[in-house]
């Protein structure tokens, strides 16, 4: 009988042979995510007069394989902000759980005897943006980045529309229109046509903004090979959030595809 504590709870050597402890201490250094695995593509966001529109398709790709077609990449925070995730889906799920905890803590802190007042004090989109910025930058300084590009849409402390972007390095900026990934190249020019400046964005109506964002989603589906025609779209205003998670791209026209030359099956 071996009375040494190290042996407690271990398979007996005389029965099972020597315990293979090699897996307990690996010889290689600790590694962090070096590249994303299952990924979401673009998120697009656009401010308008009294709110923000944000959209992302429902696809999670595994490399170039369209692996999961019902992944919701927009998540609501405290009924007042929407966060859109591009990049690694598992890191998105981690952030989602983390933000859930944050929201619960925040709601708990602001539990007041008269529950009507509980809405007045909570983290707004600008606060959340600042927090994610610090979180992403801290993780990149640990050389263990969360492999995401994030858009935060909502209202700031003065109840003005707010739209901000944070990426895996903690780089952050705000703008009247924002897009991540492929959208930064394909959707931004379209949105800038209608909202080049804050003043332009402040003149946009909700309907105009939604139309432009839908147009962007369509263009992205035409040209981004990692995209899908089913998407989520959310509108954040003072009155709350309207989130639709299973929208279908409408009025597609692939006529332009006929004229594309240079790759594919055509011989001329």
């Amino acid at each position: 009988m071996d009375h040494r504590p190290q042996a407690w709870g271990r398979p007996r050597d005389d029965v099972y042979g020597a315990y293979d402890a090699s897996y307990l201490h690996s010889n290689t250094p600790k590694t962090a995510t070096q590249s994303p695995v299952v990924t979401g593509t673009s998120v697009v966001g656009l401010k308008f007069a009294d709110g923000v529109v944000i959209a992302a398709d429902n696809l999670a790709s595994y490399g170039s394989l369209a692996r999961f077609t019902d992944v919701k990449r927009l998540r609501v925070f405290l009924d007042s902000s929407v966060v859109g995730f591009g990049g690694d889906v598992s890191d998105m799920q981690y952030l989602d759980r983390h933000l859930n905890e944050l929201a619960i803590d925040e709601a708990y802190d602001h539990l007041t005897p008269d529950s009507s007042a509980s809405k007045t004090a909570s983290l707004n989109a600008a606060n959340l943006y600042k927090y994610l910025q610090k979180l992403m930058y801290a993780r990149r300084n640990d050389f263990d980045p969360l492999w995401n590009q994030i858009l935060v849409a909502g209202l700031d402390g003065a109840q003005k529309p707010f739209l901000g972007s944070v990426d895996l390095r903690g780089t952050s900026f705000t703008s009247p229109s924002l897009a991540t990934g492929y959208g930064a190249m394909l959707a931004q020019p379209i949105m800038r046509r209608v909202a080049a400046t804050e003043e332009d964005a402040a003149r946009l109506t909700r309907e105009q903004a939604v139309d432009v964002v839908k147009e962007c989603m369509k263009v992205l589906f035409y040209r981004d090979a990692r995209s899908l025609d089913r998407y989520s779209i959310a509108v954040v205003t003072k009155d709350g959030i309207e989130l639709k998670e299973d929208e279908q791209l409408e009025k597609q026209s692939w006529a332009f595809a006929e004229r594309i030359r240079g790759y594919g099956t055509q011989t001329v």
Binding site: N127, K134, A158
Partner: protein, 265 residues
């Protein structure tokens, strides 16, 4: 040598279920000079009596700013208060850095509550010998909290801690209904009147021994909500307030006090 066998440390209950070290710490609060706090719908004020150890020394400060939107009044061991004050300053700064907003006052008070409670449950530690009144504003309006060495924290409409503070509390209870609707100046006068109740016979409020601090809701130049920063008034800055609550002026105070009272700036 000892009052009893059960007060050697803060981890031992007496057979009656009391923890004497914690009760002694509460006594330390009662040794400190009195501080009063009141909150209305728009402002929270702290007023305090400062003491000087001897004629030749300066007066010990009683009111401390923590952040733009919060401040504290202390009664008890000043050096213990400084530990708590530094902690609160760091927390507010940290919160501002990570979230870009003023720390909600309740979260802040909860944190020092937890911190102080730990000291009552570990061998070799002692409770803080100081009580605090924490006044601040956040998104949900002005707040006043009481903090005790036991770790107990509670939100108050108005409260007083320190030596002879019961008299001040009696005044506050009597005028409780009036506070919510009070403006800035009126609130300070209520505070000073409560303070006067707690003074010993031959003492008076003077510019040397009186401190006033105000924090309130405010607006920036664009009309967005931005707190009127926590500010401590000492010396000549409190003269007008003291005069407005002087015994002989009491009768006239009702109508004539509003003008010439603005010592802001």
């Amino acid at each position: 040598m000892f009052r009893n066998n059960y007060d050697n440390d803060s981890v031992t209950f007496s057979p009656q279920g009391r923890i004497f070290q914690v009760e002694y710490a509460a006594e330390a609060v009662k040794q400190g000079s009195v501080v009063v706090g009141i909150a209305s719908k728009t402002h929270a004020v702290l007023v305090a009596i400062k003491r000087n150890a001897e004629e030749l020394s300066s007066y010990q400060k009683k009111l401390f700013p923590i952040d733009e939107h919060v401040g504290i009044a202390i009664a008890g061991l000043t050096s213990d208060a400084r530990v708590l004050s530094n902690f609160m300053k760091q927390q507010c700064l940290g919160h501002r850095l990570t979230f870009g907003r003023n720390m909600p006052v309740r979260s802040l008070v909860d944190m020092i509550g937890s911190k102080a409670q730990i000291n009552t449950q570990h061998y070799g530690k002692r409770p803080y010998g100081v009580g605090l009144l924490v006044a601040g504003v956040d998104e949900s309006g002005p707040h006043l909290f009481e903090f005790q060495p036991s770790g107990m924290t509670e939100e108050m409409v108005a409260f007083a801690i320190g030596a002879r503070s019961q008299m001040a509390r009696t005044y506050l209870e009597k005028n409780l209904a009036a506070f919510a609707a009070c403006g800035r100046e009126e609130l300070v006068r209520h505070g000073l009147k409560a303070l006067k109740e707690s003074l010993v016979q031959d003492k008076e409020l003077t510019v040397e021994n009186t401190s006033v601090a105000i924090v309130g809701l405010g607006k920036d130049k664009d009309g967005n909500p931005k707190p009127e920063p926590f500010k401590v008034f000492d010396g000549q800055d409190v003269n007008a307030w003291i005069e407005s609550v002087a015994d002989d002026k009491e009768a006239a105070a009702a109508e004539g006090a509003e003008e010439g009272m603005d010592v802001d700036g």
